[in-house]
Structure formats: C-alpha cells, structure tokens
Amino acid sequence: MIKNSDFKICLSVMTILTILVGFFQSWGIALSMLNLCLISAVMAMGVNIQWGFAGLINFGVMGFLAIGGLATVLISVPPVPEAWSAGGIGILVSGIFLLAVVFSVLIINKRIPNHKYKNYFIFVIIILSIPLLKFIAGPSISKIESINAATSGFLGGANLPIIFSWFVGAIMCALVAFVVGKVCLGLRSDYLAISTLLVSGIIITIVKHEEWLSRGVKNVIGLKRPVPYEVDLQNSEWFIKLVEFLNSSKLSNVLDFDERTSLLNQLVISSSGVFVKLCFSLIFLAVVLVILYFSEKALNSPWGRMMRAIRDNEEAAKAMGKNVVKQHLFIFMLGSAIIGFAGAMLVTYDGLFTPSSYQPLRYTFLIWVMVLLGGTGNNYGAILGGFVVWFIWIQSAPFALLVINIFTSHLDETNYIKEHLLNSVPYFRYLMMGLGLLLVMRYRPKGLLPEKIIKN
C-alpha cells in the first residue's frame, strides 16, 4: 500500500489541501473540510465498488445515504416510552402484517407454477395490502405523532452508542439493496440508472413523510457523538493543561495574570472545537483506511478478477460458469452497505438528521462526479475524487466571489449586475462541477487516477 504511487498522490493531495486551507482560512474550517472529504471518500468508494468493479450504475446513492442517516436516529436516540405504549402495538402488528404480505407474495411466486394470471394476482395482493396497512397502522401512527409533537412525536430509537448505527445503517442498506437489486439489476444500464434514481426518490419520500419513524420534516437534532463535547472539554482539567502546554510560549509573553487567564480561556474555547473535529478526523481516517485495505485486497483477489471479467465481458464470464446475477446482487449490496455506512457517518458528524436536505444533485450526482473524476475502478482514485471534488465544492463560492470582484471592480457597489452576480455566488459550484465533469470525460475519460490492472 505504501509503495503505491497512487497512494502517495492521494496522501499528498489530502495533506496539501488541508494545510493550505488551514493556513489561509482557519484550522477549524480545514478540519471540517477534511472530515467531509473523508466521508465523501467513503461514499465514493462505495459507488466505485458498484460502478468501477462491476459496472453497475447506481443512481440511488441518495436513498442509501438517507437509510444510513435513519439508522443513526433508530439506534442512538432514546426511546419515547409514551409513544411506544400509545401506538407501539399497532406499529408492531402492521409490521407483522407487512411481513406476512411479503412472504405470501414470495410463496405464491415460488410455489404456484407459471400461470397466466399469476403476476396479476400478486399485483392485486400488493395493491390491496396498502389500504389495509393504512387501516391497521393509521390510528396508532396518529397517536404516536400527537405525543409531544413539538419535541418528539415519534417512537425514538434504541439509545445505544451512535457508532453502532454505522454498522446497522450498513446492514439496513444491504437489505434494501437486496430488494432493489432483485427488482432492478436485470435491467440494461440506462434503465438501471433511471430506476435506481426513482427508487431513491421513493426512499426519501418515505423517510420524509413517515413521521412516527423519523420525525420526517421536523428533523431530529442533538444526536449523540462518538467524541467528547466541546463544553465538557472546556471544563476538564487535562484539556486546559494541554492547551496551556501547547501555547506556553504565547502565554508566557503575557505577564498580567487576568489577561493571561482570559487569553487561556479563549484558546481553550477555540481549540476545543478543533480538538473535537480532530477526533472525528481520526475516526473517519481509520474507517477510510480499513475500507481501503479490504477493498484493495478484494480487488486483487480472484474474486476481484472475476468481477472485472464480468464487467468487461458478461457473456464470457457466464460461459466460464460464473453466476453473474448472484455476483451482481452481492456487489450491489456490498457497495450500498458502504454508502449507508457513510450516510450514518455524515449524520453523526452533522449531529442532526434532516430528511428534506437529501437532494439528488448533492447526494447522488456529486458522489458520481467524485468517482468519475477520481478514477473509475481505482480505490485511490475514488478517495482522491472525494477530496478534490469536495474541495472544489466548498471553495468554489469564495473563488467565484474573488473572480466576480476582480471583474466587476470598476462597477459601482450598487450596480444591478454586480449585486445580482454576488447574490448568485453559491451556484457557481454547480457550474464548476459540470465543467469539471465534462472536461474530465473528454480529456481523461478514465479519471485522474486510472484503473491499474496488475498483470502477473
């Protein structure tokens, strides 16, 4: 891993970008950018496993990220006992009903021989089950949602440490991916793209509107953290000592005791934020490295070679006796699980779950730009893409501001065009993304770090 030149490029780009931002803007900004870059890298690796390894086009990234985010709520939030006693039974009963419907459909599909009307029969069962489900669950849902609607109004979660939710999110995503894959993976590439995009739309609709489950558009705030809180740090002895030690030269210049304490206080407050972000960075970095390690191992194993063979020539792989359908389903689940993991990480880092913020442009297509720009089929490429694209995404607004100011410096402050342009600065990031993607696709269609096939 260390000897790999791609790895060196990734590492140096990461370090240089972070240090640049740290010096020119602030270390807080640099670290939060680094953290989001790392999360983006995980997302990009997930997509890369599906697209780069297996050639499966998944435009449902947004949906899987939202499922990961939902997992953080379901795992870490304390349960709401009143809600459970009011409508818990109703929800459980409707859950059992839903399972019964699913199993009956599966059994009918398997046991009954191919009859002309079989599909229609299954269709009718599914259609009838929706109003029935609403009838069973409806009263309990409205009961749950009416309990403390302003602060809770949902069932709550399992009150476990939030780290668990990352794994649970991955598992939930794998299960959803199993269902989606069973339905959609047989389709040709462009149909697969459209149908996964639409499936992610359905997932977002459910997360947004089933308030008993996720609080929906009312958002869940104040999620737990795997790292200490700033306030606790500011009051702990060891942290103040650490800050004092790190800034001893600065502090020793100040002779007045009162001034010295106030300076120390300021330093403690500002560095507590940085410290928390640094803790996040370390955890995220560890995640990235672990996924990278296994992903590389898998890519260079017989299994990885088989996946590439299936991607490059499905018919030949089939002829060699490889079960293409099964492998596609497996890798679709694997990639989606990693995306879900990243979704849970993102919500954990933000500390809040806002279903209405999930939009395809930001959470599906941006991730795709990362993979395509970084290098399809190369894990380091995905990581590099995650870094570079997120950096451009964050920094294009200040950059556009600078450019606009230079070009309109001769214009009056109240000039209509100048004002209008300055107001639309946030949208220049879309322009940069689009142009970047078009240029890369034209001049480096394999991405910045192309796939490397080791030939033995």
Partner: protein, 336 residues
C-alpha cells in the same frame, strides 16, 4: 342531482387537473423519448433544459411587460415563447456540437452519454440559477379564470363548482396543436419518416441515403421546442422554480418508460397514465361517495388510497411495476 354533483366533483378535482398535468408530462416525455430513439441515450439534462427554456420565456415576458406589450386576456408568455424556443434550440445545438457529437462519433456506450448529460445538467442548473435565481416565480398574467367555481354553481344550481383556469385550457389546446403537428410530421412527411427510419435501424437508414447529421439536428430542434413549450405551460399553470423542474424529470422518465422508451405515442399516453394515477390515487373520495351512496352508508374515512405526500412515489412505483412485468413498456418500446 347527487349523481351530477358527484360527476362535477370528479371533473373538478381529477379530470381537469389530470388532463393539464398529463399534457405537460406528455410533451416532456415525447422529448425524452425522441432523444432516446434517435440519439440513443437517456438525457438527464432534460429537466434543466426545460427550466432554461422557461427562464428565457420569463425574461422576455418581463421585457415585453416593461414595454407595455401584453396579449390582453392571454398570458404574455405565449408571445415570448418563440424567443425561448429559438434560444433553447441554440443551447441544445451548442451542447450537441461541443459535447455530444464527440461521443457520437466515437460511438461511446450509453453510460458515457448519461454521464456527459449529467455534466450538462450541472452546467444548465448553474446557468439558470445564476441568471434568474432559485426562487419561485409566477409569470402568469392575463385572465386567470375562464369559469370560477362560484359562477358555475350559480349558473347550474348545483352544490359542486367547476373551476376552469385559462392556463388549463391553454395547456390542452397547445398540447393538441403541438402533438398533432408532431405526429403528422413523424408519420406523413418524408423527413419525419426518415427520422423514424434512422431511429429504427441506423445502418439501414444510412444505406438508403439518410443524412444522420440532418436527423440529429432535427431531433434537437424538435426536442428543444417540446422542452420549452412543456416548461412554459407547467410554469404558467403552477409556477417556475428551477428545483421543481429538475424534480419533474423523474415523472417524465417514468412516463417515457411506461409508454415504451423510444415510442412517441407511448410517451404521450404514458404522460396521461402517470398524471391520472398520481392524482386519482391521492384524491380523497369521501365527498364523492357521500353523493352516490344512499343515506346512512356514507363512509367515515377519507377513502384515499395513499396520502398526497406519496404523489411522486406513485409514478415511481408504477414505473417499477412496469419494468418488472413489461420491460418494453405498455406500448412496446424499441429496445431493452
């Protein structure tokens, strides 16, 4: 009387909105399907192309209004439409020349085309937001209602009113005109036939002397006209917001595939199918049953299949059902 009331109720809340929304979707879906049929890729930038065309129409409308030029009872946007169409054609052809042509000559796979169209989607998205901003814009002027619900009630003495907005009528008339011209062109004229021939079998069409460049040019022109008209009608009927236009791409895709991708007539029906199921399945039929059921048997619940929150999800679900049972679409599309 109750029976008439129930019919009027359904007309007001399902049939009229369904026809309007269906026409808008149908126009959009025909555009997507033509791109797919002739150029052979799913264009993800289509929603933003619609937004771009509508934006130009709005800007020209504002300009005309500032000069004091209006269409009286009709919305001024209809006067601005030709300019919008011309600029949208220019943009489409620009992107075709700078981007798509290269990949077409290279005979890239469909996925590459999708990815490039994503790039164009980002660019158009930014351009629209930079020029006109991300906010809701209402650019409908002229006479709002042809018939108000209250007037209808007074006129007929019924309990239920039937409101008819002028945008709804304009949408329907424009769609009928556009679609008749388009289908006449595709089915009866020589150019239209050569376009269909090219879509059916590229090599055979080349052999019989059809100029592919001309076909591609023509496709982009037709598609841009459809995109601008559909976008403007949607904006007049509801309002213009770039994000909504991007989102409308999804039901449009659904309509395209449901009708059989590459099949314009299928896309037309697909648009109406999606629109009517979205509206029909989310409507609460309580009042309707109150009218037609005998007294004492009135329903106590809303009689709504699924809540309106899931409006979009319905079209997606229909699409998935169609993909499982009839992957070629209901009206046999070309390839899968």
């Amino acid at each position: 009387m109750d029976f008439l009331n129930s019919i009027i109720l359904l007309t007001n809340f399902i049939i009229v909105p369904g026809i309007t929304y269906g026409s808008q979707l149908a126009l959009g879906a025909i555009g997507v399907t033509l791109i797919y049929g002739v150029l052979r890729f799913a264009n993800f930038a289509y929603g933003d192309l619609m937004a771009f065309g509508t934006m130009i129409v709005i800007l020209v409308t504002w300009f005309l209004q500032s000069k004091g030029i209006t269409l009286g009872l009709l919305p001024t946007a209809l006067l601005a439409l030709p300019v919008g169409i011309l600029l949208t054609i220019a943009v489409s052809l620009f992107f075709d020349k700078t981007v798509f042509e290269y990949y077409r000559n290279k005979k890239s796979d469909p996925v590459t085309f999708i990815v490039v169209s994503l790039g164009i989607m980002f660019v158009l998205n930014a351009v629209v937001r930079i020029i006109i901003g991300p906010n809701d814009i209402n650019f409908m002027d002229g006479h709002k209602f042809i018939m108000k619900a209250r007037e209808f009630k007074q006129m007929t003495g019924l309990n239920e009113g039937l409101a008819l907005k002028s945008t709804q009528v304009i949408t329907l008339i424009t769609t009928i005109i556009t679609c008749s011209i388009l289908f006449y062109f595709l089915n009866k004229t020589k150019t239209g036939k050569s376009m269909r021939a090219y879509s059916n079998n590229e090599d055979l069409a080349l052999l019989s002397g059809i100029d592919p460049k001309k076909i591609v040019l023509l496709t982009w022109i037709i598609v841009s006209i459809l995109a601008t008209v559909a976008g403007t009608l949607y904006g007049l009927d509801k309002s213009f917001k770039p994000f909504t236009y991007f989102n409308n791409l999804l039901p449009i895709f659904a309509a395209t595939i449901v009708g059989g991708i590459g099949n314009p007539l299928g896309a037309f029906y697909g648009g109406f199918l999606i629109a009517f199921s979205e509206i029909g399945l989310t409507y609460a039929y309580k009042k309707f049953f109150k009218y037609i059921m005998p007294e004492g048997l009135e329903p106590s619940t809303l009689i709504q299949f699924i809540s309106t929150d899931y409006k979009f999800a319905i079209s997606f679900a229909i699409l998935i059902v169609v993909l499982i049972f009839r992957p070629n679409g209901i009206f046999k599309g070309k390839v899968i």
